[in-house]
Symmetry: C2
Subunit: 134 residues, 2 copies
């Protein structure tokens, strides 16, 4: 299987389906409980599928929440770099897609003689919905 192909294996496809259907990020064990009927029985099977999906850029991890989200952007640079808006009230997460972040961070890092490879940005606050409800 080449890295860029969409030839996912059964377990990988099963996990991706769950994430794509979800309107919110999911935790690994939530995924596991959801799909125990589909032949996936152990945490490791989920984690392995997640690792692969992350590697090929189909899924990202929200580090501060230990949760996982399917990437909606085709052909973005998110294989390596990610940015999220995380609502602290409703836990909604949206992926920020601005390509200039990468070059901006790359320059910031260079100022400290640091060789940029990738980044993860998590912004916390209130989503539009929750702002209006207040």
């Amino acid at each position: 299987m080449t890295l860029e192909s969409s030839n996912l294996t059964k377990n990988q496809q099963t996990v991706l389906n769950i994430l794509e259907k979800s309107t919110e990020p999911l935790k690994a064990y939530a995924i596991l409980f959801d799909i125990q009927k589909k032949g996936i029985k152990s945490p490791l099977q989920v984690y392995r599928a997640l690792d692969k999906l992350i590697e090929i850029g189909k899924v990202h991890k929200i580090e501060s929440r230990n949760s996982y989200i399917a990437c909606k952007h085709e052909g973005c640079n998110a294989k390596t770099s990610t940015a999220f808006l995380i609502c602290e009230k409703c836990d909604n997460v949206t992926e920020l897609k601005r390509n200039n972040l990468l070059s901006y961070f790359s320059k910031q890092a260079e100022k400290d003689n640091f060789q940029y490879r990738k980044h993860n940005l998590e912004i916390y606050g209130l989503c539009n919905n929750c702002k209006l409800k207040n």
Copy 2:
């Protein structure tokens, strides 16, 4: 105890001391094992101290590594917002201190009608030392 004071309790001070002496971020259980001689016996005591230290801005959590680092910056805005350079080779972590990140992210978030409160940025790559060794 007021929030801005440096009146740390014994446990809090013990944990902070360990982190300040360390040249690298520490994990909660590493802290625990280090200080079991000083009266701290359970994970919870460490986590509670960490929570407080994070709340008052003395310590930050590196989310993607589940590790904790003492803040070297006096009076920075890091009570809420943080940015790190993380070396993938030697695991060295340095805190980025650029105040304009906050306003930059705040504006980025606004474009999506998102009300910014704080952020965490983790940049991965090679530190200067490791670059030179290659």
